[in-house]
Amino acid sequence: MELIRNFPCLSILLSMFSAILSSALKGRGARRLNTFVVTAVGALSACTLYFTHVTGQSYVYVMGHFPAPFGNEIRFGSLEAGMALFFCVIMLLSLNGGRKKLAMDIDPSKENLYYIMVDLLLSSLLALVYTNDLFTAYVFVEINTIAACGLIMIMESGRAIEAAMRYMIMSLLGSGLFLIGLCMLYDMTGHLLMSNIGSSVRMIAENGTYVIPLLVTIALMVVGLAIKSALFPFHAWLPDAYGYSTVSSAAMLSSLVSKGYIFLLIKIIYRVIGFDIFVNSRIINVLFVFGLAGMIMGSTSAIRENDIRRMISYSSVAQIGYIYMGFGLGTSAGMVASVFHILAHAATKSLLFISGVGLTDVSGDHKEFIELTGSAYRNVCAGLAFTVGSLSMVGIPLFSGFISKLLFSQAAVQSQLKMLPALIVLAVSTVLNAIYFMKTVIRIYTPVTSKYESTSMKKNVLYAATLFCFVALNVGLGMCSQPITDWITQGLSVFA
């Protein structure tokens, strides 16, 4: 067996080891270890991506001495490896961009605890991406939830703790529903391994024995993961959690945590339930409607918001709506569009959060729009980056958001019944996006004599470099969309 096939397992274990070691280290040591591990895991994932892309296959890796269904196993193809690499890149950039703010926001004696949370968040994301066992997925969903709560409440301000409580309650409700669904699936199929459940579910669906439990199970799992990834009616926890946590946490929560759950859902759709059975169940229509509602409602709430961080957070609700709308189309083109939008949104939303904090920093830490007037002149680099992020979210060509909107509309055209609502809502949502993002961009570029000091790029080179990387990532996703969609299509074809 090739050495590279050990890499996914090693990257999960490496991030867990780093978390354990961090608990014995002081803040600075934990920070260095974390940077090293995220980079190393990224490198390992890049090797895996190269290997799987060249061979074009997906591989099963037995965790232990007993092959599945008796033991645990992980499975990786090019899509999983690419996702892992992408998550590492976003995590590294988000942490670097918010590093200075983090030092101000948290108690120095608790810095190592923050990095424990980040390390374990990485390990759980990797495990969610790679695992081929539904129960392992549940265990790492737990770790992911607790880590996310820790990332929110590290601020130790009243609002942050309240937000963490709210997040915890909603997220645990989601985990509970997922667990009930998992138990029912186990009862019907007698397996925990995704591939085995998949074949059993196919048999059940053919025989027509457990029609109602199967439908309820699909519903429970989908709703559970939808709550955790903030689909529209379950998004109440989101603005507080993203708005009042420290900026690195907000960027990671919006672009990694919710995306990890969505990736797990894709995995369940393809491997556990089976794409055809999922499409034939009426649940995708519910997802479609909720996705559309989220696209409108998230943007409307964002327009009404007077706080830049909360506005960006509400925009996440709309973007998650796009992803679920893609699922709801029920075609493989819709799936590809959704997966692309996961990447596009993750790259853009973390850019917006990180550049947003640069703007608020030069406005006396105020997040209200009136104080932000002209802030792009005071911090040129953050202003430019914020503009790029806004343009990408609105869907201007050259940036990643445009490609995902294009892919969504292409996918919508293929579906007869859902074409009209999908296209209309896409158009409306784009206009709404433009309203609140362009409003902000105009606001920050309105010249005004201000009482706040301006800052230059030289003062914080790391921050500027991070923003540059984010912008490059965004433009890269927008310019090289064809190879990326090819990669996603190929990855999804070996996914099931």
Binding site: M16, M63, F70, G190, V216
Partner: protein
């Protein structure tokens, strides 16, 4: 025939103390135990007023209840919907369960080759007489390692929430709730000093015999943790700190988790690459058997014991 002892000699005997105590002449607790009655908690009128004012202010300013008709409407709607929703979910789940295969039926899908393999080959594969331990620590080692990390991250989260600096604990000694409790409770101390060793021994027994009899690292560790909580409740943090303080806690926790991690890494890498695992499974039924299950049980046990104690200590005084 008995001899009458001298009074001075008699006063040293147990019977003398016992009969004095029986006769009510001397209370054994007087002088030995701090007999300060607990102060009745009484709030002053000013603080009550302030609290009420704060509350009113919070309601008026945060929720703006007099103007916010939306919120009022939402409150009423919320109550109705939550009741209807709960009833609907319960009904749905009950109906669904009635369609699932009946519990204990022969035809139940869960009675498949997986559980059969665990039962028939479990002993041979893992060397553990206790199939459950063998299953969770060998067959599904990855899940269990994840589960141990859940405990680890849970303590870290509680630390973020409740950990206070040592100096702050010292400064806030006045407001410490420990002051409201009787100190040096003789009954508790005597019982604890009798029970704690037994609890510790039993916990260790359960951990070490995890692969032979019911039990294992999680249950044995919980027991040791409970023993430590009993000890600290009886003797206080100062005495417990002599053998279990923050440094010891860190050492034990990190060592246990690292060793556990090393074992599973070795196990995964050898297993996936088709190499033999060099940890011998030993003779079934012996204490030194069970391959990786025995060391893993020990490490899981120490981690769980630390976690239990850390939860108690963090909630009690905000430090270890």
């Amino acid at each position: 025939m008995s001899r009458i002892r001298k009074q001075s000699e008699y006063e040293k005997t147990f019977a003398y103390h016992f009969f004095r105590w029986l006769g009510g002449e001397k209370d054994a607790f007087v002088g030995n135990m701090e007999m300060r009655p607990q102060k009745e908690y009484r709030e002053e009128d000013a603080t009550i007023e302030e609290r009420m004012k704060d509350r009113q202010q919070a309601i008026a300013e945060v929720y703006d209840s007099s103007h916010n008709r939306e919120l009022k409407f939402f409150g009423a709607l919320y109550k109705c919907f939550s009741i209807v929703f709960c009833i609907a979910i319960v009904t749905l789940l009950v109906i669904t369960v009635s369609y699932l295969p009946s519990v204990g039926g022969v035809q139940k899908p869960t009675n498949n080759e997986v559980s059969e393999k665990y039962i028939t080959d479990g002993l041979e594969d893992t060397g553990a007489v206790n199939i459950v331990t063998g299953m969770i620590l060998s067959y599904r080692a990855f899940d269990t390692f994840g589960e141990t990390n859940v405990l680890f991250i849970a303590t870290c989260c509680v630390m973020i929430m409740l950990m206070v600096d040592e100096e702050k604990i010292r400064d806030n000694r006045e407001s410490n709730d420990r002051n409201f409790e009787p100190k040096n409770d003789v009954i508790l101390q005597v019982i604890a000093s009798l029970l704690a060793p037994i609890v510790f021994l039993f916990g260790i027994y359960i951990i070490l015999n995890g692969h032979l009899s019911p039990g294992g690292g999680f249950s044995g560790g919980a027991m040791i943790g409970a023993g430590m909580i009993l000890y600290v409740a009886a003797f206080g943090f100062e005495k417990t700190g002599r053998f279990f303080n923050e440094n010891v806690y860190k050492c034990v926790k990190v060592t246990a988790l690292l060793c556990y991690g090393c074992i599973v890494t070795y196990y995964f890498l050898t297993g996936a690459n088709g190499l033999p695992c060099l940890i011998p499974t030993g003779e079934a039924g012996k204490i030194l058997s069970g391959g990786i299950t025995l060391p893993i049980n020990i490490f899981v046990g120490s981690e769980v014991a630390c976690t239990m104690y850390a939860f108690y200590a963090l909630f009690r005084r905000g430090g270890l």
